[in-house]
């Protein structure tokens, strides 16, 4: 099932602007390799789920996949052929706000070559430009 918050303070949110780069969540912390967004955007819950399935099918039985983003934001829309006015539309889907530099997914327990193939499958489903990064030790 696509991800969604259990409890929210407000059903609808304003659209906002994505400014600056990610200053947190921009390092590989759980796995050995990560998929980092190179541009900002919204990642819908369906897209996160599609990416998870694409990657999980590849790492099955060998590695472990981590999802580092969660769709906290509700995105509303108004039906087609509706007259202007009558207020804000109803929540249509849930999305994660992605800043450039955010790590979206991580994998552990597989080789670098396998991680590369896994993320290539995953990257095709992403609406933002991404790149593969390695964990950095101090």
């Amino acid at each position: 099932m696509a991800l969604m918050p259990k409890r929210v303070k407000h059903r609808k949110s304003q659209r906002g602007r994505i400014r600056g780069n990610a200053t947190r969540g921009n390092r590989v912390v759980f796995g050995e390799y990560g998929l980092q967004a190179m541009e900002g955007g919204w990642l819908s819950a369906q897209t996160i789920e599609a990416g998870r399935i694409a990657a999980q099918q590849y790492v099955r039985g060998e590695g472990k996949l981590y999802i580092r983003v969660f769709p906290h934001r509700s995105v509303t829309s108004i039906p087609l052929e509706t007259r202007m006015g009558k207020g804000k539309g109803e929540p249509e889907f849930w999305a994660a706000t992605i800043k450039p530099g955010t790590v979206l997914y991580e994998v552990a327990g597989i080789t670098e070559a396998a991680a590369k193939i896994c993320f290539a499958r995953l990257a095709h489903k992403m609406p933002v430009r991404v790149r593969m990064i390695k964990r950095v030790t101090s």
Partner: protein, 211 residues
């Protein structure tokens, strides 16, 4: 750990604008502090710093505007981890004891992998207290006896230098072997998603809205 030479210059102009100019010239800002002496703003060559970081160097011999030995206390990277923005240097001497984070590497092949498990390293760096000249480059934990469902703790690290002590809890887990995800975990559940509960909303409000 072997120390490397690091030439440094004094940095009379401080602040983000001046640091930006410095970086354009192929240098980077740094600060030296410790031993109850006043902090010193320094600049150093970007290339020499990159070389040190590639070698996992932690201890440096300062030359030029400052002298003595210093520990690379903190390295600030840009959000994409491409360029080093700033370095914190801590003055150290032979009789000091410092707390540093050292990467932990796994050694050997875990039998749990053949039993259908995934070896998951939970802790990749641990903090130890050690003399600055005894800082190890890596610490190792032997996974050659790690079976499915098993775990190894910080205390199982076998190559801690003499005189060093763990700052990280010795009973904290470093690595464990867990069962890999099965088909059931992969398949998407197609149950219709509901709406999340709205905090603070009363039932009466919801009913009136529905009407």
């Amino acid at each position: 750990m072997k120390s490397e030479k690091l030439p440094v210059d004094a940095r009379p102009k401080v602040g983000s604008r001046n640091n930006l100019k410095l970086r354009r010239e192929g240098r980077m800002p740094a600060v030296l502090y410790g031993h109850n002496e006043p902090a010193m703003a320094l600049s150093l060559s970007y290339d020499s710093m990159k070389t040190l970081l590639r070698k996992h160097t932690k201890l440096v011999d300062l030359e030029g505007a400052a002298s003595g030995q210093a520990l690379l206390q903190e390295v600030t990277w840009d959000p994409f981890h491409r360029e080093v923005l700033h370095i914190d240097l801590l003055r150290v001497s032979a009789d000091d004891r410092v707390q540093v984070e050292v990467p932990v590497l796994l050694k050997g092949e875990a039998p749990g992998h053949d039993q259908g498990g995934v070896v998951e390293q939970v802790l990749t760096e641990i903090e130890i207290e050690v003399a600055p000249f005894d800082i190890p480059e890596f610490l190792h934990v032997d996974v050659s006896k790690l079976n499915l469902g098993g775990a190894l703790m910080v205390k199982d690290i076998y190559d801690l230098p003499a005189g060093a002590a763990f700052v990280t809890d010795a009973d904290e887990m470093v690595v464990h072997c867990v069962r890999a995800a099965g088909d059931a975990d992969i398949a998407a559940v197609t149950a219709a998603p509901g709406e999340p509960e709205v905090i603070g909303r009363k039932e009466a409000e919801e009913e009136s809205e529905e009407k």
